[in-house]
Amino acid sequence: MSAPATTEAKLAAATAPASPPLAEKIKIKVDGREVEVPKMMPNWQGKLEPTTMLQACQIAGHEVPHYCYHPKLPVAGNCRMCLVEFGTPQMGPDRKPVLNQDGTPKVAKAVLPYEPSTCRGAIACATPISPGMEIYPNSAATKQMREAVLESLLINHPLDCSICDQAGECKLQEYSVEHGQSQSSFVEAKVHKPKAVDLGPRIVLDDERCILCTRCIRFTKDIAGDDALGIVNRGSYNTIAAWKPGAFDNNYTLNTVDICPVGALTSKDFRFQMRVWFMKETKSLCTSCGTGCNIIVGSREEKIYRYEPRQNDAVNACWMCDHGRLNYKWIGRGDRLKKCGVRGAGCGVTDSDWSTVLKGVSETLAKAPHGSTAIVASARQTNEELFLLKKLATKLGALTDSVPRTGQGDHLLVDEDKNPNSNGARLTGIAFTEMGINLPKIAEGIAAGRIKTLIVFGEDVTRHGLDPSLLARLDTLIVSDILPNRTTALAHYLLPGCAHAEKRGTFTNTKGRVQKFMKAVEAPGDARPEWEFLHELMHNVTGQNGFSTIEGLFNQMAAEVPGFAGLEWAKLGETGVTVQI
């Protein structure tokens, strides 16, 4: 996929923080109440454009129903759902406003030219407001227009909600209940279009359900920069199609499933997996790269079913990449580390419990001479965990490092840094200079016998220069991980950890945005959040009491680490705070 260079600028503009409200405001009336709205408001690219009726109604607290309009997409104005009745101040032949008897300007409702008794609505998403305008989002005429538009949209809709994955989060369902009518005057046979069309490797299209809002076409053309979709055939045979069957394949295709207001575009990964109303939605972060896209984790009964992007204009707008979205299955893998482990003399790792393992680790670390320990942390860990590890390292005089992980980035959201928290590792001091620079030193220290104890968190160090023969020279190897690997097999003490979806914490993305994520599912078996047992270890080794809550721990970290100075857990909010990096 080759994208035009301008898309980067487009997203940068779209994801830029909302520009400060402009001084110039105009007065209009919405539903009889006077409101002052800015004359210009940012459009989908963040550029200022005259405020539309839809935006003005939103400011006034009236949600105008819409399908094709999306705040992060160019306005198309084709679904007609946002039709509203409106009026403008009447002008006399002398181009002066006509006044009522009480001196107020006379407002004339827009009507059809040759049918003055019939309202002429305007689409709220594309009609700019003018001073003195009156919008009637709840008038009888507006309601009638909505009913008529919904009836037209439903003419060829198959009404197969019982087998449609969108049911429960379908705008057509919601608006039909809210603004529609229970009967249709359409008695003819519906036009049948192709069903279960293979649009691309991750998308299934049901053409019958499509209401032709063209959100998907605009997204893939203007945001993803891959002009793969279009409308073919004419009239009521209008059909969405890819330029070549199955050719809708870029790294952002699944966003079209989110923005599709009906069940036309559905995800192959989520197809027929679970009904959406069973899903528990947890605010979380994507960990597949350093961008840190905000997501919602959909889970039911401790099983994760899907990731969906969550709007954060400072990070990912409303989007996320397909790779990150589908990278959740490892969390539910059957071979997860579920038991603590202790290696006996000569034999392999045997199952143990937390009290034994933590006691053993604490005693080993308390006895270890200053400087005989090294810590390999992971930039996939949270800021809090890295902070605790750094405190432990300071106490033990340990050499610390993390493992760099780079890959290909792209023009939109994917970052070259594949670690979700590289900046956290830098700010906490785990990898203060270039990441990975201490790994050869640690290897050298082990080879020379200076380093006797190695603590590894969430990394398979055998793949990063510390091969098994080297690890065999250690007196103690303490490993915490989520999935088994060659390092966990060699551990003297094995501490099963949690995936990000199973604990709370914060990450610092590549741009220095500190964002928090919540717990979606329970960890399997005995696995515990790393910060919890690190807190206990810290207490046992240093004798100092710490915080046993994530809120307290974060606030302690903010107080002690200069990079996070001034932050508070409660002030992070849902979209995070940017720190200087």
């Binding site: 087998i163 069903k195 197809r271 027929f272």
Partner: protein, 185 residues
């Protein structure tokens, strides 16, 4: 309010005629019973109980007139079920397609825990496919708790057939008709 008490007639005041009248009723029932003319004790379970239409017995899955599973795994019954007795496993993208063409999906597994079920009938009421019905079975027994969890196969076997509008079939027929030109409307 004051209720006026009528004076008893002399015949009523005799008392004995009323006593004899009562004994006559008793004697009639006595003879009818010993001769087998009326029956008050039902020999359950040897003698099955007749269940009236509209009775809410155990919920079972039904097949349509073509023998296809009607359930499309929409999971509304699972959602509405007050005691959470219903548990469904959706087919997933790679699952077995529905018995009927065009219906796209059917449950991979459908379980009703009859120990939890309160026979309220909300599953039948909510079903958009007329696929689950409260039948007349009221006496469900098993030797273990596990036996009381009825799976899809068992529920379909017990449910039998229930006809009705075959909307998926009609939709497919309608679509096929449109493939020939000129389109018939």
């Amino acid at each position: 309010m004051i209720v006026k008490r009528n004076e008893l007639t002399w015949f009523e005041r005799l008392y004995l005629p009323a006593l004899v009248g009562g004994l006559k009723v008793t004697a009639r029932h006595f003879f009818n019973n010993i001769t087998g003319k009326t029956k008050v004790t039902q020999q359950y379970p040897e003698e099955p109980t007749k269940v009236l239409p509209g009775y809410r017995g155990a919920p079972y899955l039904v097949r349509d007139q073509d023998g296809a599973t009607k359930c499309v795994s929409c999971q509304l019954c699972e959602f509405i079920c007050p005691p959470k007795a219903i548990r469904m496993t959706p087919p997933g993208a790679a699952g077995q397609p529905a018995d009927r063409p065009n219906a796209e999906k059917m449950p991979k597994e459908f379980e009703i825990n009859m120990l939890r079920c309160i026979f309220c009938g909300l599953c039948q009421e909510v079903c958009p496919e007329e696929a689950i019905f409260l039948k007349s079975d009221f006496s469900l027994t098993g030797l273990a708790r596990g036996e009381m969890v009825y799976n899809k196969e068992k529920l379909l076997a017990l449910g039998g057939t229930h006809g009705g509008v075959q909307k998926w079939k009609h939709k497919l027929e309608e679509a096929k008709e449109q493939e020939t030109f000129p389109v018939k409307v």
